[in-house]
Symmetry: C2
Subunit: 582 residues, 2 copies
């Protein structure tokens, strides 16, 4: 053992004790007659002191020559500090060192190991092991571990069994792109890494396991966007003999438990909102309900005047941005530019200033009367001082755009408070969504989601109208979990595959095992999966997931620290019966 | 909710209650005037009863037509059984059913869902979801989850942090073969799946994380042997600022804790044995010390007589097999044949019967006197009634062969008791082992293991003699864990790589990131990894790991249930810049 204590635990109760510490030289301050070293480890910082009067001359010299991030072992006595630091748990004491040993020196680190570092993103990723020494990263990894353990213990306590499903499975073209793994022993064949253990957890239900969960890595070979990782962790759950209500209650329990134990926040019953309602009230199926700015539908109020833009629109819809009536012309123009950015895609924005004296001033004053504008204000619940922002056009995309503006304004106005938690269930998702690119309907969740009872027939007549017992758990504007009641009979699954464009042979080839399983007594079942990376980030009050992952990949899917992926030996390729085609 | 109770919880305290159960029709017994259904779920079996007097006629008919493994929902009243089954927790009651609903019918399963099934291995694997319904498999999966949770809570309680390391890493030719994953975004490049998170856990130590663990899947593309899986789970652990003693104590603590909480077995301090001692006393570096039959070295006693075979041997060594003196000639010959099998590879076996009257009868009576044989008996601690089995030849291989015979005899004589647990530490492993095939030394654990202090220089002069602070935890003849103190400075690591045949460029290319990390203040560190599949099997008193894995692969690395690996779409290959070379 290199130490008797950690650098986080000594205080006045240890005065006079001889102790041994080991850690990193965080800071060395040399005042000539006295040298202090802040010794750091995972648990904290303890001050080492060396001085002319009390320390051997050689020791003082040794302390002086200790570089930043040197790994040292110090033996000494716990003494009271002259000037105490009440902010530090160890701030009342210091160690008068009698022996100092360098366990390993260090080159000057490429960035400072401080809470606020001078290292840019790329440098921090290349030297991630140094980045992890920094409090903000270290504490996020500790936080993640705590959340994961809490999840495991909570679910285990509720009778869920953690079961490991395989990582080397079979590629299925449905959904996102698979990562594949060539098989050496089975020439010309490939495994795939799971995008989720979906079919396996369903088979576990067929196998009678009843309540399953797993914290499990999943893989998607997608073109990466910011803050998306090719490998990510799911809390994957499934239950048998349940209805949607049971699943919502169970995982509302888990989420409340986490908010309470991790964040100290008590939540009442989670609100529930249908998909249709969420989209029409917030322009999003994952609304952030920490703040209002709900949509006001102005279509019937605003049409049939002389304003052609509104008259041609499928939807005219507005939000009242609190306190923004006093925006300058320039500020309002900037907002208009913001909604016209290609990422948002609106063609323009109409606005109404709700002035303090109860009057209105709008960009469409020549088409609408004060009484019109007052009705708009009522529909958007605008109060004096607010700015009503109005978009119009095709219904769905207009909602999406106004939803983006709403989130942007929530952000700008500081309404998205990191320490406030507003969970809700969004339910009754459509079973299918139309993909304009392929001209086909795709499963909105996945092909195993059951249509609502009695709606199977509608797949022929009105596919877009079919709803599913599918639900998302939304927290602060993020989907943190999603799931559904599954199909559990072969016939329905076959109909579903057919509607998704599978030939019978393709369905058989890829999911024959599952349809077979449904013939041998499959119980009704359903489940949910949480994105752990995202969940942990939100509970931690952060927007970005990256520092909650020990060794994340960059936006090209590269690990810049170990420099992966990389070329492999030609002999390896040959063993795998493969050739490069570049 | 489909049920008010599970099939495992109802007893006399529930008499008279109306309950609802759901599960599988395990058995249907039709006596004409009365029909019983054993309803089964994960938690147990509850008997449903339908009879002429008390049930509606239609209901009786319905019960009668319920097939094996149908999923049914039953509502009824808890009543007392006429003939109680004291072996079943629910054996005092039955449910007088008032309503029965088939939730899903079932085809006749391909094998019986019973503890002793009529299904062969291959059929069970193809229909693994049915196999999992069987008690022996189900209970092993539940057991595994319990052990895993216990491990997590124990280590977390000791300050260890579970940190997820990446699955998409870099291929390194050292060690076993990697599974690789072609990168679509990085043309011509590949990720590899980790054989273990070795380098990452070391980087976490450099990053100050101090005490790390992870239950993590690892991957090895090896030619599969029975009971070896291409993907397996490790309990991976690492600590900083520790010496070997700290690691042994910590993980002896974990193992004792598991034996106590899981098996109810109290163990004293684990014996420790050097590698050299283990090999010379048991012919194995993972001796099963639940039984004796220790090696007796007969070399000096048996040489320099007229028996050429022994005289030419590097080692003459025997074990006393208890009670085997009375084996018939045929039985002894079968033993000789056993050691001559190619898997063992001995050229013959000398034996001595230690008779009840204190005399000896051997296969080499013409070369040795009774006094000689008495000395042999003393050296092998043979008692009257034992059979001394003696092998001779080159030291190392002879030990291995006799070690195999010892294990075989332990097995045959029932000395390897499943409910007995004999852990020990084997320490001081050689750093390197010579590989006759490549004519080179390889790292016995891995290239990151540190030589014992002061022995680095011996790598030049006497590589085989260099020992490491490397240790295995052995339980009942199985290595359940292995680890070492690691190298933590760049220079030593570079020397090590050189001795393992790496060019400087290769070392830089593959492990440059680690050697860089060692220059920025790497603390002394070490760790251990347990094979979870094996550990769980042994704690469960089993030899085979397969049923402790929910969805294992067969000996060709295939999942016969989902039929993976499989061919992939040519378009997928093209996107990956690959072509098949068949």
């Amino acid at each position: 053992m290199y130490r008797s204590h950690t650098c986080g635990e000594l205080n006045e109760s240890h005065l006079g004790q001889t102790v041994q510490l080991a850690g990193w030289a965080h800071k060395v301050r040399d005042k000539g007659f006295v040298v202090w070293i802040d010794l750091r480890d995972r648990y904290g910082i303890t001050q080492l002191v060396f001085d002319q009067d009390r320390s051997e001359a050689g020791l003082l010299e040794q302390a002086r020559s200790t570089g930043r991030e040197f790994v040292v072992q110090a033996t000494g006595t716990v003494v009271e500090r002259a000037s105490k630091n009440p902010k530090l748990p160890t701030g009342s004491i210091e160690i008068l060192v009698t022996s100092l040993k360098v366990l390993n020196p260090s080159l000057t680190p490429p960035f400072t190991v401080e809470d606020e570092t001078d290292g840019g993103e790329e440098l921090r990723m290349k030297y991630r092991y140094l980045d992890i020494r920094r409090n903000p990263v270290k504490s996020k990894l500790l936080f993640r571990a705590r959340v994961a353990l809490e999840v495991r213990n909570y679910l285990s306590g509720k009778g869920f069994v953690e079961i490991e499903t395989p990582y080397l499975i079979k590629s299925t073209p449905e959904g996102a792109r698979d990562f594949v793994v060539p098989s050496r022993l089975n020439e010309g064949q490939f495994y795939a890494l799971p995008q989720s253990p979906q079919t396996f957890k369903q088979l576990l239900m067929v196998g009678g396991m009843d309540k399953y969960f797993q914290l499990v890595k999943c893989f998607r070979d997608e073109d990466l966007r910011a803050d998306r990782q090719p490998e990510f962790t799911q809390i994957d759950c499934e239950m048998a003999f349940v209805e949607q209500e049971d699943i919502l209650n169970t995982f509302e329990g888990l989420t409340s438990h986490l908010l309470k134990t991790i964040n100290g926040v008590e939540t009442g019953p989670f609100p529930r909102m249908t998909y249709d309602e969420a989209v029409s009230r917030y322009g999003s199926d994952k609304p952030d309900i920490r703040f209002g700015m709900e949509f006001g539908d102005l279509t019937s109020l605003a049409q049939h005047r002389d304003f052609g833009v509104f008259n041609q629109a499928g939807l005219v819809v507005g939000i009242a941005v609190p306190g923004a009536a006093e925006y300058t012309r320039k500020e309002v123009d900037a907002l208009v530019d913001w909604v016209k950015r290609p990422q948002v895609g609106a063609s323009g924005m109409v606005y109404v200033r709700c002035l303090g004296d109860g009057t209105y001033k709008s960009s469409v004053d020549k088409f609408y009367t004060s009484e019109d504008l007052a009705q708009w204000a009522e529909a958007t619940q605008a109060r004096p001082g607010d700015l009503i922002c109005i978009l119009s056009g095709e219904t769905e995309s207009t909602r999406t755009r106004l939803g983006m503006l709403r989130m942007e304004m929530g952000q700008r106005l500081g309404l998205r408070k990191a320490d406030q938690f507003a969970p809700l269930w969004v339910i009754d998702f459509p079973l299918l969504e139309f993909d304009p690119e392929s001209g086909r309907y795709h499963a909105m969740h996945h092909p195993f989601t059951a249509p609502k009872p009695g709606q199977l027939q509608m797949l022929e007549s009105d596919p877009a109208a079919v709803r599913a017992n599918a639900y998302d758990l939304v927290l602060n504007g993020n989907e943190i979990g999603g799931g559904s009641i599954r199909i559990h009979d072969k016939q329905t699954q076959a109909v579903m595959f057919r509607h998704l464009g599978f030939t019978e042979e393709q369905a058989r080839n890829q999911f024959g095992f599952l349809m077979d399983a449904f013939q041998f007594g499959a119980p009704p079942h359903g489940g949910i999966a949480f994105g752990l990376d995202r969940l942990v980030a939100i509970l931690g009050g952060q927007e970005s997931i990256r520092d909650f992952i020990a060794f994340p990949k960059n936006n090209n899917g590269r690990d810049v620290m170990i420099d992966a992926p990389a070329e492999i030996d030609p002999a390896q390729l040959e063993e795998l019966h493969l050739a490069l085609r570049l």
